[in-house]
């Protein structure tokens, strides 16, 4: 039966179910299929902190959103075109995000009285008119799955577990996804349990066949491959890209990587990944706590390795004193903070950007350190290399601020040519660098490079350069303990000046102001790049002018940032916090920037942000406009 095929330029699908229903796997497979097909895409996994939250409840709902298109896209999308809901709780938890007219596919099997109650439904929404605004498809996905796989003799429970593959098969048919990668995946994943493997493959194919034969779905959709910059692509998540970036940092600096870390959501995957790549000289040390993680990395750096520690906000809080030691001892150290909702334990699996001020100021004393932030999952690779460049060149701890959205989200990534990656020079000290008054040669561990103000990095095993470093204030040059007031003032200012000098090594900022007529600049950092870019496109499509600048470096700010900001009437700063970058910008440039702040554990929505930008643009025409934070 030949069905009608409709062309679409982009689609957003959200798979939602219980946290044990395999929704993350389903979404991930759909993503890989779309990547293999050549669409541009962006994903947003959203799941509870509990491994198995109470079954059938709203807190137990896990979802995976995938946005795929025939053109380049910047976000996982605000509102799904299709929701696949595997139980009442999944329907209830996600319905508020659905637009009128969008499609909802429901597995009616779990819509029992008890499950409806658990989700807080008084009446069955499939039986009343409450979903009449949507294109509703009520199917017995579980029942059809059990029927399809009965030949394998599985228990009913095991058979029903393949329902996610049935749903994936159905959606794969609807959007013309290639199936080979998923079949190959299932065959490998369940190679040791043939009946489970065969059941999953059968369920997947049955879902596809159901779409093709049933009259429920009259239309198949086609989303052509995207026209993207030529090159070879793969799909990559932020944490994977960070891990690869750290491996690359070791290769490019010719330093052994030493990761000292303690498991924490959402950063643990970096440890898991790096532990697979010892062949690159990477050592991974799962320490007894966060403090030991960073301390061991500092010890390894003292020994001439590239010390790295990975964590999330609560872990940074624990590591603060040791990071101060790295500031004082001026040793290279890369600290990766995959931010999550805070304070305290907060929202472990949700995203937030509220650690910027902690990174900036969260240590005792004047303890400046450079801060870099990636802007997309793939960009985590480059950000890791940049953090390493600064850490090694300037002999300083560097904070890299990723977040939960980047860590777990994925996108097509144009695979870099390894030949094009920057080389990073460790330039270990090998000889004395000072002549004593009596003419003898000496090694001064706190002598400085004129250009970078970096101190020499002399590693144990280097004869003649024996020296002692530590947390007590160091005398300028010779590095012995010094309590001299003038020396302390000099050293405090020198450490600050060294970090400030990093700005001299940065390229000019990229200002995206296509018309050159914009009065409003949108200035962001980190993972908000996608939503901000998408919002700016909407604004321009509507005929307004807006400029966009995105910061890779949060400390020091690039040298040209002040001039750029002064060139616009209004500067809007969207952040997933209460205005931390705004605070820094106001303090540094005395500019009345306007904050757009959201702290709900979710990425910004492009449509809402576009409205805020449009409002600000309108207000620039009104002289009385003096709002510092737009109402949302």
């Amino acid at each position: 039966m030949a069905k009608e095929v409709k062309q679409l330029d982009r689609v957003i699908i959200r798979f939602a179910g219980d946290s044990g229903d395999g929704m993350q796997l389903t979404g991930d497979r759909f993503t890989q299929q779309s990547a293999a097909f050549g669409n541009d895409l962006s994903t947003f996994p959203n799941f509870p902190a509990e491994i198995r939250a109470p079954q059938g409840t709203l807190p137990g709902v896990s979802s995976f959103q995938v946005h795929f298109a025939d053109h380049d896209i910047l976000t996982a999308g605000d509102s799904p075109d299709v929701l696949v809901a595997m139980n009442p709780a999944a329907l209830k938890a996600n319905l508020a995000d659905m637009k009128k007219g969008s499609t909802i596919i429901v597995d009616r099997h779990d819509f029992t009285t008890r499950n409806l109650q658990k989700a807080g439904y008084d009446a069955d929404p499939l039986e009343d008119d409450s979903l009449s605004d949507y294109t509703l498809n009520v199917l017995d996905l579980t029942g059809m799955t059990v029927e399809a796989v009965k030949e394998f003799g599985l228990s009913r429970k095991d058979a029903a577990r393949a329902k996610n593959m049935f749903a994936l098969g159905l959606l794969s048919w609807m959007y013309g996804r290639p199936t080979e990668t998923t079949i190959a995946f299932l065959e490998k994943r369940f190679a040791k349990v043939p009946d489970i493997r065969d059941a999953n493959v059968k369920a997947f194919k049955s879902g596809w066949n159901f779409g093709e034969t049933t009259e429920v779905f009259a239309v198949q959709y086609e989303i052509k491959p995207a026209r993207m910059t030529p090159g070879t692509y793969r799909n990559i998540s932020g944490n994977l890209a960070l891990a690869y970036g750290l491996v690359a940092s070791g290769v490019q600096s010719d330093l052994p990587v030493f990761l000292g870390t303690y498991p924490i959501t959402p950063a643990s995957d970096i440890l898991h990944e790096l532990s697979k790549h010892k062949g690159f000289g990477v050592t991974t040390f799962q320490a007894e706590d966060e403090i030991a993680g960073v301390a061991s990395a500092i010890g390894a750096s003292f020994g001439g390795a590239l010390g790295v520690t990975t964590t999330s906000g609560p872990g940074v809080a624990l590591k603060s004193e040791a990071i101060g030691l790295a500031v004082m001892t001026e040793l290279p150290l890369v600290v990766i903070d995959v931010q999550r909702g805070g304070p305290s334990t907060g929202l472990p699996t949700k995203t937030e950007q509220a650690d910027l001020l902690q990174a900036m100021y969260g240590r005792n004393g004047e303890a400046p350190l450079p801060i870099v932030a990636p802007q997309s999952p793939g960009d985590c690779f480059d950000a890791a290399i940049e953090a390493t460049r600064i850490a090694v060149t300037y002999r300083t701890p560097v904070m890299l601020l990723s977040d939960g959205y980047l860590a777990n989200g994925s996108e097509p990534w144009r695979i870099p040519d390894v030949e094009d990656l920057p080389k990073i020079e460790a330039n270990f000290a090998t000889e004395p660098n000072h002549t004593n008054p009596d003419g003898t040669e000496a090694f001064w561990p706190y002598a400085r490079d004129e250009e970078t103000l970096a101190r020499p990095w002399a590693v144990p095993g280097t004869a003649g350069l024996e020296h002692r470093i530590g947390g007590l204030e160091k005398g300028d040059g010779h590095g012995n303990i010094s309590y001299d007031p003038r020396n302390h003032e000099l050293m405090v200012r020198t450490r600050q000046a060294k970090v400030d000098r990093v700005a001299d090594s940065l390229p000019p900022l990229v200002v995206d102001d296509p018309s050159g007529q914009a009065k409003v600049l949108v200035l962001g950092w980190g993972s908000t790049y996608g939503p901000i870019g998408a919002a700016c496109r909407r604004v321009r499509k509507a005929g307004n002018d807006v400029a966009q600048v995105h910061l890779r470096h949060l400390n020091p700010f690039p040298n040209d940032l002040g001039e750029i900001i002064k060139g616009y009437e209004k500067v809007l700063v969207p952040e997933m916090n209460l205005g931390q970058l705004s605070l820094l910008l106001r303090a540094k440039y005395l500019v009345d920037v306007v904050g757009y702040n959201q702290v709900n554990g979710m990425p910004l929505k492009a449509a809402e942000l576009a409205d805020a930008i449009n409002n600000l643009i309108s207000s620039t025409d009104v002289s009385s406009a003096n709002n510092t934070e737009l109402a949302r």
Binding site: F280, T283, A292, I298, G299, G461, R468
Partner: protein, 358 residues
């Protein structure tokens, strides 16, 4: 009395660390920094002993690193002309763990105190011993906080009157040797600051051991806890106070061996009069026994209160694979067919599922 321990002949602990060419002197190991402990501090004696011992260790000076935490004793690295790091409170074992794992060719020593190691840094200490990192940890135990001017420490006796406990401490103290044995340490010893010969022999045995060596050094603080170990030092009392542990020997002490250690009915050990027991009842000490039960029982003979009796010597010295050796072996094994790193990196970042846009 003093205990003679044989100098070790098999220095597995320093395997991989380059040997010095020619003879070194204590002076070469002394830095140009003025030593700033209080007059009469036990730390001086330990520093002298270490400066004299290191040349005998025969390693290249630049391949020796001392890492310390915070406290009086943690100033130690500044006075040695080796590589060193005076780090932050309690974290020296963690820093040293990273250093020792990253560098097989270094002899890494940790200098710490009872507050640094057992209070703020307790977690790192037990995990270093559990992992058996190739570190030599010198725990200077003066049973008091000195640098912060006289508060009780985790090894102070219950009831101790200090600045922070004017009515007497109600904390029960740690026995560092018992703690180390419980934390799976493969080498545990106790020595005394004033007994240079014994201290040196324990340092040698610790250096020879591959893995974490925990050496508790009873160290007098003349300002805030003077005389804490006097019973072990006074010529009138020390024969009865020091229970010497000698490998393969019966444990006897006191004037003319009048006292001994026997198994008790409760499953531990106890002190008895030698004349009141038969020869074969006396416990023969074996630090090499894989079972730490006897070592632990003997460690309990240490007074928890004011010290009148304490076993001194090597409690435990058993071989066990070290974390750092095994971690390096995994890296070396994985790296042996790496080939060109750039080529391998290109393959890694490319992965299995790609598509090409032309």
């Amino acid at each position: 009395m003093s205990v003679d321990l044989p100098m070790p002949t098999n220095f597995a602990g320093t395997k991989g660390v380059p040997a010095a060419e020619g003879k070194q002197t204590a002076k070469e190991f002394s830095s140009d920094q003025e030593v700033r402990w209080c007059p009469g501090c036990g730390d001086y004696a330990v520093l002298k002993a270490v400066q004299s011992f290191l040349p005998d260790l025969g390693l290249r000076r630049e391949n020796i690193v001392f890492v310390s935490g915070i406290g009086c004793s943690s100033r130690f690295p500044y006075y040695l002309d080796t590589y060193g790091m005076h780090s932050i409170h309690g974290r020296a074992p963690a820093i040293a763990t990273g250093l020792a794992t990253a560098r097989e060719d270094l002899s890494v020593w940790v200098v710490t105190g009872d507050g640094d190691a057992l209070s703020i840094g307790g977690n790192h200490l037990i995990h270093a011993m559990r992992r058996n990192i190739n570190l030599k940890i010198l725990l200077f135990n003066n049973r008091i906080y000195g640098l912060t001017k006289g508060q009780y420490s985790p090894t102070s006796e219950a009831g101790k009157i200090t600045k922070s406990t004017p009515m007497g401490s109600v904390d029960h103290p740690f026995n560092p040797v018992s703690l180390a044995l419980g934390a799976e340490a493969s080498f545990v010893a106790r020595t005394i600051d004033s007994d240079r010969k014994h201290l040196t022999s324990v340092l040698a045995a610790a250096a020879a051991h591959r893995g974490t060596a925990l050496v508790e050094i009873y160290q007098n603080c003349p300002i805030f806890n003077d005389g804490a170990f006097e019973s072990l030092k006074d010529s009138d009392t020390k024969a009865d106070a020091i229970i010497p542990l000698q490998q393969g020997e019966k444990i006897t002490f006191g004037v003319d061996g009048s006292k001994c250690v026997i198994h008790s009915k409760t499953g531990g050990v106890e002190v008895a009069n030698t004349s009141a027991v038969s020869e074969d009842q006396i416990v023969v000490f074996d630090a090499h026994n894989p079972d730490p039960t006897l070592a632990f029982a003997v460690s309990r003979l240490t007074d928890a209160g004011v010290l009148h009796q304490s076993p001194i010597g090597i409690f435990r010295d058993v071989p066990r694979p070290t974390y750092d050796d095994q971690a390096r072996a995994q890296v070396a094994d994985a790296a042996k067919d790496l080939g060109d790193p750039a080529t391998k990196l290109a393959a890694l970042v490319t992965g299995a599922d790609t598509w090409t846009i032309v």
